[in-house]
């Protein structure tokens, strides 16, 4: 048995330790979310309190969230399965709730990616990155919904994480590139003694027997060792993406990658600093109402334009072939994920810059490293999408390379955050 498989089994056996860590994390999370509301920074507050609030903001938005993005991209949805406070609370509520089984309408719609788009827009409108009340409105509302959904659906399960969580809309895309996964030996599963001693404990109600990918797996390890057929294992970075069968390619996934993972997150993080944008605001006037109303519309429009341009680039690089264009969209996941990571991490550096720290060099280094690694990771993942004919193959690869470089340049040369 490999060391990783032993780790998976250990996590499965020590649910008590995992549960303790989850509740500690929930306490920290809600502490970070609520403390600024209870002890606002302002007149009459000492220098120490101001510094504490600054570090707390930097930790919450600039270290925590980008850390989760990076861990999900590299190791899968470990955060979700082992530490996420929303998942913990939703499962806790589900053990005590009404235990309804998940309805068909719940299971058949892309609620997570729609939810992520709404939360991203709401975060911008409520100024969640800078306002404690805005953060509570955007992030706290998600936590409240997680608890309510747990109280209604499932019997000790995480219906929220599987079918509703907005973050899962993006995490499920990122996790496909990860190097860790739970590998299921189908032959060993089918050959195991019957009846099984216990049901497979998957809080997301995944079909573990036929599990082939990381898309929805929360890496909680509760299935590790089931029927002596499930083990934690390592794989090549992006292996799941390059081995996707044609019937596994989904237009909805590609649209999510292009318009949300790249389009919406890029615009949300960088659009307000864009020079053209200020010109638009100057023309329309400075009223707050215009600012708020325009905020959601302009971000949605800008994300749509960026996504459409990217989709056009993918279609061109695929030489007009639908399946290849979809494959290339999946191949963009590492670059988009690292671009998102860098954009979020820059928030912490910008906060420090506001306090007089010299962070420009660190910002440039962070961005450069993220886009170089992202481009080097994404580029070869497009190989299965290339046509077989040598001439067309060279043309397609040249266009795909140009597109990867263009996206990398977009992340690298976007305006730096100003707080």
């Amino acid at each position: 048995m490999s060391a990783l498989a032993r780790i998976g089994d250990l996590v499965e056996r020590r649910r008590d330790v995992v549960a303790a860590a989850q509740w500690v994390m929930a306490a920290i999370y809600f502490g970070l979310l609520l403390t600024p509301l209870l002890a606002p920074v302002g007149a009459g507050v000492g220098r120490f309190a101001e510094q504490a609030a600054l570090w707390e903001e930097a930790l919450f938005w600039g270290v925590w969230w980008p850390g989760v993005i990076l861990v999900t991209l590299v190791f899968g949805q470990v955060w979700c399965g082992l530490l996420c406070p929303d998942g913990t609370l939703s499962e806790w509520a589900s053990r005590r709730g009404r235990a309804h089984k998940p309805s068909r309408w719940l299971r058949s719609a892309p609620w997570p990616i729609l939810g992520f788009s709404l939360v991203a827009l709401a975060s911008d409108l409520f100024d969640a990155h800078r306002s404690p009340l805005g953060a509570l409105a955007a992030v706290g509302a998600v936590s409240a919904t997680a608890i309510v959904s747990g109280g209604y659906w499932g019997r000790g399960k995480r219906i929220w994480c599987r079918w509703l969580c907005p973050d899962a809309g993006v995490f499920s895309l990122l996790a496909r590139a990860a190097i860790l996964h739970f590998r299921v030996d189908r032959a060993a599963w089918d050959a195991a003694p019957r009846p099984p001693p216990k049901a497979v404990d998957c809080p997301l109600l995944l079909d573990v027997r036929r599990l082939t990918g990381n898309e929805k797996c929360n890496m909680c390890a509760r299935c590790s060792g089931h029927r002596n057929a499930v083990v934690l294992a390592v794989r090549a970075p992006g292996a799941e993406i390059v081995t996707l069968r044609d019937d596994e390619l989904r237009l909805s996934d590609a649209a999510s990658i292009v318009f949300v993972l790249v389009g919406l997150t890029f615009v949300g993080l960088h659009w307000r600093q864009w020079p053209w944008r200020q010109g638009l605001v100057d023309v329309l006037g400075p009223s707050r109402l215009a600012e708020i109303g325009l905020g959601a519309v302009e971000i949605a429009l800008a994300a749509g334009v960026l996504g459409a341009a990217l989709a056009l680039g993918l279609w061109a690089a695929a030489l007009g072939r639908r399946e290849s264009a979809l494959r290339l969209a999946y191949a963009l996941v590492p670059l988009a994920g690292l671009g998102l990571f860098a954009g979020l991490a820059e928030h912490a550096l910008a906060l420090l810059a506001r306090e007089g720290w010299a962070t420009t060099d660190a910002l440039i280094a962070l961005r450069t490293l993220a886009v170089v690694v992202g481009a080097a990771w994404s580029l070869p993942l497009g190989r299965p999408a290339l046509p077989a004919t040598p001439g067309r193959r060279v043309l397609s690869f040249a266009l795909w390379s140009a597109l990867v470089v263009a996206v990398a340049a977009l992340y690298r040369f976007a305006p730096f955050p100003v707080l």
Partner: protein
């Protein structure tokens, strides 16, 4: 009627050990119920155990096996006579 498992089955292994008639097996892709052994738990319980434990409601009545309560009781008696229980 006997029950059947639809293709929505997630292979959670919850139903198989619950079946008092040993009518449920893994199947090639998802769980299967042997209609000749399923009595809807008549003779054992007040309600079908597999339906109760299925987390996603993918166990439904099989339209090809129309059986009355008397039919199910006779099926139970036949299975009992085979010596599996009691």
């Amino acid at each position: 009627m006997a029950y059947q498992v639809t293709a929505e089955c997630i292979n959670c292994d919850a139903c198989e050990p619950e079946c008092p008639n040993e009518a449920i097996s893994s199947g090639s892709d998802f769980c299967e119920i042997d209609p000749h052994r399923c009595t809807q738990c008549v003779g054992h319980y007040d309600q079908p155990q597999c339906v109760a434990v299925c987390p996603i409601d993918c166990i439904v009545l099989h339209p090809d096996y129309l059986e009355t309560r008397d039919d199910l009781e006779r099926k139970y008696a036949r299975l009992k006579a085979e010596g599996r229980w009691g």
